[in-house]
């Protein structure tokens, strides 16, 4: 295919480049395209991984927050008495009778020491009975209904026919949504079906509200000082470096600081205020850095225009710089606050309680927050708390999603085209 052109030596005409459609060239093109495809694939992999893991998380949490339950309206009621005297044979006999066992069966049960041991106390109001035919049955006393058994969403769907067939007189099978409206109105409880996150939700609102009140003026003020007022010298640069490092300090360290300074030294105690102060310290470096970026992004030409019109430094900062940096600042603050909402470790140190059955009503109240409530549910023994924890995680994710959405809207709303 190679064509030697007049005036060119044949050695040039036969250089390896040859015609752009020659087999060598095509092989080269193929190799190049392969490499390109490989890199495109490699860059896509982490995105794909992240998306699939996120899907798994959502799927897992959502399905865990629903379970099948066999429920019996509370009329047999005897099981409630177990709360006072579990382990007593008389009570067990009563319970077995209530479940419709014949007296022969009951005698056989007591005769078998092995079977007896399968009665296990889970806590003061529950008994769990392992049986040969089912996984196990719950006897849970509760203000309204008796919950006979609790089965996962998919497992229960698979066994639906058998479960329906096994229903006794007065019992019913239904899908229990652990995440419902009452979940927001119920307080912490030792009984899964009674447990809600009202106190944790309002605890989080209190803490985060105070965090914003404390960290917003401090953070934006610090950023303004560093960007607009601070002289460019060794100390300022040292401050900047340290700011970056502070943003990377593990949150537990801030917990220790909060414990020794706010809780003990200032004697605020394990209160909402101490938590808010600790979390504010934690996110201040992030807010300062985000605000500085936003302030720095305001074009110099706007500052010059303002100065050129005879504005003072403060007028320029307050009327030109800040209004144009507000979207960046608010976005940064929201992202930092979202981090604070999810923080658990420092709050464990400064004294968030795992069990708070009421919402805080002042900055000096005791409190708990969503992640700590979820943590305490996850660490419960009772399998039903798994559903409660999932419902709590859904609430936490929704709160974060709302905040991120808010940041997105603000960014869109205040977007500038310089």
């Amino acid at each position: 295919m190679s064509v030697s052109r007049p005036g060119k030596s044949s050695s040039i005409a036969q250089t390896p480049a040859g015609s752009i459609t020659s087999p060598q060239a095509q092989a080269r093109i193929r190799r190049r395209q392969q490499v390109n495809r490989l890199f495109a694939f490699l860059t896509f992999t982490p995105v794909f991984l992240a998306l699939s893991l996120l899907t798994v998380l959502f799927f897992d949490v959502l399905t865990d927050s629903v379970s099948w339950q066999i429920v019996e309206p509370r009329n047999s009621g005897q099981s409630f008495a177990l709360s006072q005297a579990f382990g007593s044979r008389a009570v067990i006999r009563l319970e077995l009778l209530a479940q419709g066992k014949t007296s022969e069966e009951i005698e056989a049960f007591f005769a078998d020491a092995e079977a007896l041991r399968k009665f296990k106390a889970r806590n003061r109001v529950e008994l769990m009975w392992y049986t040969a035919d089912g996984p196990f049955r719950w006897i849970v006393s509760n203000s309204r209904d008796k919950r006979i058994s609790d089965i996962g969403l998919f497992e229960g769907w698979g066994q639906r026919q058998e479960l329906l067939a096994s229903l006794k007189e007065g019992q019913s099978l239904y899908l229990n949504p652990w995440f419902d409206f009452s979940f927001f109105t119920k307080n912490a409880s030792r009984t899964p079906i009674m447990a809600g996150l009202s106190s944790a939700f309002f605890g989080t609102l209190w803490v985060i509200g105070l965090v914003i009140l404390i960290s917003l003026p401090l953070g934006v003020g610090g950023a303004l000082y560093l960007e607009e007022y601070a002289p460019d010298n060794r100390w300022t640069r040292l401050l900047e470096v340290n700011l970056r490092n502070l943003a990377g300090v593990p949150s537990i360290v801030y917990g220790i600081l909060g414990l020794s300074v706010f809780v003990r030294l200032l004697n605020i105690g394990p209160t909402v205020l101490a938590a808010a102060a600790t979390l504010s310290l934690l996110i201040l470096p992030v807010i300062v850095m985000a605000s500085r970026e936003a302030i720095r992004a305001v074009p110099t030409s706007l500052r010059l225009a303002s100065y050129g019109l005879g504005a003072t430094k403060w007028q320029t900062v307050s009327k030109v710089v800040l209004p144009n940096a507000v979207s960046g600042i608010v976005t940064g603050v929201i992202l930092a606050v979202a981090r604070a909402i999810g923080e658990t470790a420092p709050l464990l140190l400064v004294g968030a309680a795992a069990f708070v059955p009421y919402s805080p009503n002042s900055p000096l109240s005791k409190y708990t927050v969503l992640p700590i409530q979820i943590y305490s549910w996850v660490s419960e023994n009772d399998a039903e708390f798994k559903h409660v924890a999932s419902a709590g995680i859904i609430v936490l994710l929704i709160v974060l999603l709302v905040l991120y959405g808010f940041a997105f809207v603000i960014r869109r709303r205040f977007r500038r085209n310089w």
Binding site: P231, P299, S301, A305, G308, L309, G310, A311, K319
Partner: protein
Amino acid sequence: MTQTLAKDHQTIRTQAVAAEQAAIGLADFNLWYEDFQALHNVSLSFPKYQVTALIGASGCGKSTLLRSINRMNDLVPTVRVSGGVHYEGVDLYDPTVDPVEVRRRIGMVFQKPNPFPKSIYDNVAFGPRIKGYKGDMDALVEKSLRSAALWDEVKDKLKQSGLSLSGGQQQRLCIARAMATDPDVILMDEPTSALDPIATDRIEQLINEIKDNYTVIIVTHNMQQAGRVSDRTAFMHLGVLVEEGPTDQIFTNPKHQMTERYISGHFG
């Protein structure tokens, strides 16, 4: 540039401005950015209600000179100056003079149109508001926009963003904004270098219209523009004021060889 220029070069002046005509006068003005001296002993008077053009190659110090007049160079921390800038019998660099007050009397228009990302109305009202203007703001905004020959184009959309205007309109908005603070002097730093020829023509017409009420000092790269709009021209080179005089004189009969070479396009 084959020719170097002595730093103690005596400025060639044709028909020097009489002291009583001068709105602003620089006397032996020197300016340093850290160790670099950007202006050498510049002495120059700008006559009232006339347009003076500053021309010269890039980096010759003409923008620095312009910014020295309303003390915008104060915003650069490393700047030092010596000598004086006289305005209404006051040395603007006197320690008792507040640069904010200077800038309220000497307005400035920048190279790239820089309206605030606010409404057209708020852009014009910005200067009066920060001065605490108590009068009829609507009337002042209208007057300023009319002076900048922009009113007819924007009167129905005063609430729209200043950034929604075309580049030429934005620059006239900036001129209106500068005039709203009621300055005596307007400094223009290459006001048309970012604009197309039609918008440039509008701005040049505007400069001709406003010089009855304002003393205008304009930095320009465009020698035709200097010829079209200015009454007097000053040529600078490497921080030295080489020659100044009536524009016709400078363009038709330059005294200094550098001026002639620059005007005829040999460098710059």
